[in-house]
Symmetry: C2
Subunit: 104 residues, 2 copies
DNA sequence: CCAGAGGTTCGATACAATACGAACCATGCA
DNA sequence: TGCATGGTTCGTATTGTATCGAACCTCTGG
């Protein structure tokens, strides 16, 4: 059962949902940018420079969150995105590595 | 440039297209079934038991083919599906392994 | 206290994806 | 030659997704 903010538990993360979340160019870009950061790094949702309105951006982060790819943490005014690296690694070993090393 | 049957060359295979092709439950099922076969194994398109009409089945195999995941070979009357294991492996190392070992 | 910044939600719209049946094109076999 | 089998293509209905703007909430900083 997902928590109050919509984050699924590790054993609830579905492969199809993860793949569907990654199957959008903007969301893939976000995940790939998070992959080159240090493990556990946080980034502002606005810092990715997505060329969409803020409601659309909110939608994409919701998809990533509900798929289990990212964790969103409230930091007072703003909200930080953090890749759930170890969670995905433990459930789908090698998947994020493959996404990280994929040709641009 | 894809060949006459719509198969992209190895360096034309796009990560987003592969992920989008895998993001459908039926297509993921097909790929996972091919992954447990011996490398280079062929299977009838009808042998997967997909619960859809033949026109829909044809559509899904077209998506897999155009994404570069499978190769379709004419065998006289019927058509065989073959996973492009080494092609995907060389372009996105570890991706198919992750899909193969993912929990059901 | 109030204005602005960051996010979410809602409703609407436009587009893409899935699905089907019917028509059609091959191949293989009687 | 005729016909069944396996696939593709086409048109279409249905559903889902991406997108936006407007309204609203919450926190921060004057």
């Amino acid at each position: 059962m997902p928590d109050a903010e919509g984050h699924p538990a590790v054993d609830e993360i579905e492969l199809v949902s993860v793949l569907a979340a990654l199957a959008d160019p903007l969301r893939l870009e976000v995940v790939q940018k998070l992959l080159v950061e240090a493990d556990g790094a946080e980034r502002h949702c606005t810092s990715f420079g997505l060329p969409v309105s803020k409601s659309t951006r909110s939608h994409h982060f919701k998809v990533l969150r509900e798929a289990g790819l990212i964790k969103q943490v409230d930091r007072g005014n703003s909200r930080m995105a953090q890749l759930r690296r170890s969670d995905i690694d433990s459930r789908f070993p090698g998947l994020l590595d493959a996404v990280a090393t994929a040709p641009a």
